[in-house]
Amino acid sequence: MISASDIAFFVLSALTLGAAIYSLESRQVVYGAISLAFSFLGVAGLFILLDATFVALFQIIVYVGAVAVLILFTVMLVTKEVEREARREPIQPLGVAIAVIVAILVSFVASLSTMGSLPPSGPILGVSDIGNLLTGQYAFPLEVLGLVLGASVVGALTLAKIDKE
């Protein structure tokens, strides 16, 4: 019996994996950047399927909204001529082999343990639970996170001012 969540899982994982592969193998980097945004969107859908709506919202706002647009602007600033990038790089057999070995090993080890067939447990958590945890137990890490974000923005601005003498 195939339920709706199975179909949703299949479609979302196909979108995520396909877009991720195309983002690395596309002819032009611009198409790869757009495809990467679709891959992020697929991951957000998987988060919704896992009842983590707040993380999915965060994923869409930060990744699809901010990081993907940042990457697109960088691609436009960095790509010099279309012709040179247009030819496809040959697929490296060593890279494919390493990737397949890593994926199969991790999947095999996970299938050996008994946790693989666990049903989802407990109640579905709302945004307020995450908010309580963030402002209670994790209040100090949250402040440090804000500092890190601010420092990274200042660092990026300082880097952008470096110029050839």
Binding site: L24, V29, L36, Y63, S107, I130, V153, I162
Partner: protein, 102 residues
Amino acid sequence: MIPLLDYIVLSAILFGIGVYGLVSKGNALRLFFAIEIVINAANINLVSFNRYISASTPQGQTFALFSIAIAAAEAAVGLAIIIVTFRLNKEVNVFKLRKLKS
């Protein structure tokens, strides 16, 4: 309902795609894409383990939020480094950027 193993296998495949990009690509932007893919695979693991093993506390989701925010900070700095490298060397292929080697 989807078993936990499906999510682990999906995340392992996504991680494998990211590792493939990291070991076989020369363009700095593609390497950056691969890093983002690996981070996303890790986030799927965090959230799915949270849902299936200890769903009464949202620790895994909170950790995924922190991970996403750190990835955003990393994206800002990484893309700034790529832009500066391109402006100084007119090149983003990491196999041709070997000033430190000579």
